[in-house]
Symmetry: C2
Subunit: 222 residues, 2 copies
Amino acid sequence: MIKLALLDVDGTLTDKTRLISTKVVETIRDVQKSGTLVSLVSGNVIPAMYALKTFVGINAPVFGENGGVMLDADVEVFFSMEKPKRFFDEITGKGMAGNLMTNQWRLCSMGYFPKNGSEDEIISLSGKHDLEIANSGFSWHILNRGQNKGYALNYLRKRYSLDLDEILVVGDSFNDIPMFLDKVKKAVPANAELQLKKKADYVASVPYGEGVTEILQKISRF
Amino acid sequence: MIKLALLDVDGTLTDKTRLISTKVVETIRDVQKSGTLVSLVSGNVIPAMYALKTFVGINAPVFGENGGVMLDADVEVFFSMEKPKRFFDEITGKGMAGNLMTNQWRLCSMGYFPKNGSEDEIISLSGKHDLEIANSGFSWHILNRGQNKGYALNYLRKRYSLDLDEILVVGDSFNDIPMFLDKVKKAVPANAELQLKKKADYVASVPYGEGVTEILQKISRF
């Protein structure tokens, strides 16, 4: 039986223009009323996750910066800004990447957009600095090693003393893979990357938030 | 004809527990498709307004800190943090008020909760420091003089070259009064304070986001 659903945001609860599905908002509220815990984990900044937690009404802690920061009653930061910021300064200084507006609210990662076809070169360079690059399909992030959505999953598993098969994860993109663990229940909307579809226990018939609505309505079957 | 709708958030788009109405989200998207500009103005912090702008899909700039900060492509701050922060330190130092978690993201105002029945004393003290206190019904804010929702309205009026009667404002609480100007069209959900109902051109038959849905569906009549 699923006791916790851990959901990605962009491309999962939202469409490709980042509009949130009002159907999935209603469905999240419904499954919470039935006693299921729901958490969100995103590459986005923690005050944006605070807004989602408040206005959607999420009953478990939420995570920003790919799992590096958590908001419960207060903000908790699990990783350091030192290395991501130094690498960000290097690649922007070399003209390989540009700044994101949301970086002013980041605490342990930096967002960027690649310039001049330097996507692969940045990824290659990051490895030498003991850093990881995540691409949500909406933006690129420089992260500390181990700072990923699996970290958030593991935190929640311990906090609520859950078995892995009592957790449902839902995501659509490459940065969701670290939470797509073997024993965890995994579902994806129809727009998910093929690599995630292959790992999933369930692939929704429709994309985006409508697909996640379909998944959450079947949560008792997982 | 209404060309711009300027909407409060807490208690207006949300219920009293701050859950956003999915009906009003859909209706905002509908009126925007018909060519109407929509803006939000709230006492909340600007990255939370960024999240609302992104995930609801708001087509005009949005304002946080009661109109003191605007988010368009980037963040623009219209007032200073100096006086609000000094006064906040004074009243918290005296044990009259406590801190809000969201203060870490504020740029030109401070939020607090009054302690030991000191609501009125804080308001009285604020006047001596050339500051204003706003109460959204959800939290208390220390603001610079002139930092209010009327400031946001005036900014948008100039930016889009609008007449006052081409603007519809919707709010429920005392901090919405500065945008309830004479020639502006004014509407309120059924939960609004009596003082706002008396000023309103239209009072919805139902409260909260469902009331604002009713208002926006009648926008062509204003």
